[in-house]
């Protein structure tokens, strides 16, 4: 019943590719006759893989790198906020993305200082490989995702004032000035041990992704001062905040046919069959925080 164009995406996304691959093994009769191959490029990804006998099977043959455990924890949390146990997208989430990709750095070097509290600089070079990004996935927002573990329970809440600057290493062309980006924000530690901090780097990343750059090499400098400097000298047991290299989170709008466009139905004035999404806020923090409320929300 979809009247949308049949623009198939560049490559079938993992989940569908798997289903297609198993289906082709189960029902060889589904092979497309030779003549149909001419329309191959127009076929939705589903049939592409069905007619492609040679596709690797998805069970054990394809080696998969194990994801970072913290990153996995964050994405599971995002999933719980966004969908029911049965996997039905929840109605209340008001956002325009239908895809969120999390990349962990595949190269990091030069940790200058690790102790954040004394105002040392935490510097790290990060290389993110974004090959999994498809041509039909359009960037809506990108954030560096830091997770802070406080080793010692903090008796009362502490606020840091942090500065972050990013410089892009563009080895390919020394001519064009590399893009840099800096911002300041306050980091508030309450009782919770783990803090996720999303630092918006959309304006930094947008031009790189727009030029189809898939290897993003950046130098990130991160410094934090106690919100009230006098206090830091009086702390009997200094708070030790370990800072691990950040992950890169991309909020995307997948425009391919098999992706869900619930918010799009709203735009066309039709109520989406499953859920109504808020139209006013272009993006809402996936943790359900609309940007008001605690300082973390404001920063995000």
């Amino acid at each position: 019943p979809h009247s949308r164009g049949r623009g198939g995406s560049g490559k079938a996304p993992g989940f569908l590719a798997a289903a297609e691959d198993v289906a082709s093994e189960l029902n060889p009769v589904l092979q497309l006759p030779e003549g149909a191959r001419r329309g191959y490029a127009l076929l939705p990804p589903l049939l592409k893989v069905l007619s492609d006998r040679g596709a690797p099977s998805w069970d054990s043959e394809v080696p998969r790198l194990q994801p970072d455990s913290r990153a996995l924890r964050f994405m599971k949390r995002l999933y719980k906020m966004s969908a029911t146990k049965e996997g039905i997208p929840k109605a209340h989430k008001g956002h325009l993305y239908n895809t969120v990709r999390l990349f962990t750095p595949c190269l990091e070097c030069r940790h200058l200082h690790r102790d954040l509290v004394k105002g040392d600089i935490h510097s790290v070079d990060l290389l993110f490989n974004l090959d999994r990004l498809t041509a039909l996935e359009h960037l809506l927002k990108s954030v560096l995702l830091y997770s802070f573990d406080t080793s010692i329970p903090i008796s009362s809440s502490i606020t840091f004032i942090c500065h972050l600057s990013i410089k892009e290493h563009d080895f390919s062309s020394q001519v064009c000035p590399s893009i840099s980006h800096s911002l300041a924000f306050s980091l508030h530690f309450g009782v919770r041990k783990r803090k996720w901090v999303e630092i918006d780097v959309t304006s930094f990343l947008q031009p790189l992704i727009a030029t189809s750059r898939r290897n993003i090499h950046m130098a990130v400098n991160f410094t934090c001062q106690m919100g009230d400097p006098q206090r830091s000298t009086k702390l009997e047991n200094p708070v030790n905040v370990t800072l691990v290299p950040p992950s890169l989170l991309l909020y995307l709008n997948d425009t391919s046919e098999q992706a869900y466009h619930g918010w799009n139905l709203l735009r066309q004035g039709r109520k989406s069959p499953v859920r109504a999404r808020q139209r006013d806020s272009p993006l809402v923090d996936p943790t359900g925080d609309k940007g008001e409320g605690n300082s973390q929300g404001k920063r995000a």
Binding site: H2, P13, L16, D59, Q66, E86, T99, A259, Y260
Partner: protein, 135 residues
């Protein structure tokens, strides 16, 4: 009518309950009428749970059953469906009767691990059948 029968027992023949139900059967809907059936699977059955993190269970559902002759008002079927039924019944039984297929779907959110170790949350269209129709 009972008084009339007593006065004149030969006039109105008794319609036995058996004939009555036979008579109405031609208007009744088929016993296994086209409708939505439950089906639930877990990705571990397909051995995909190594890279599909969530959901653990998935209920795609499916449509099964015979399409009654009067499909218009119940299934919102186009007139063509009744025409196809007539062709099957009156003209050419090799033309298949209308089929019971999904008419509406709902999306599914999936959390997966990609081959390069990155993690993706995706919402797929049309993954769960929610209503059936005859076409």
């Amino acid at each position: 009518s009972r008084q009339r029968r007593n006065e004149n027992p030969k006039a109105a023949p008794e319609t036995s309950p058996y004939n009555l139900s036979e008579y109405f059967k031609q208007f009744a809907f088929p016993q296994n009428e086209c409708e939505l059936h439950n089906f639930r699977l877990s990705f571990s059955q397909l051995k995909w749970d190594k890279w599909i993190i969530a959901p653990h269970r998935y209920s795609p559902q499916y449509c099964q059953g015979d399409c009654p002759r009067a499909v218009g008002h119940r299934y919102g079927s186009p007139v063509h469906t009744m025409v196809q039924n007539l062709i099957y019944e009156k003209l050419d039984p090799s033309v298949p009767r209308p089929s019971c297929v999904p008419a509406e779907y709902s999306p599914l959110s999936v959390l997966t691990i990609e081959p390069d170790g990155s993690i993706v949350y995706k919402e797929y269209e049309d993954m769960i059948a929610t209503r059936c129709t005859c076409r």
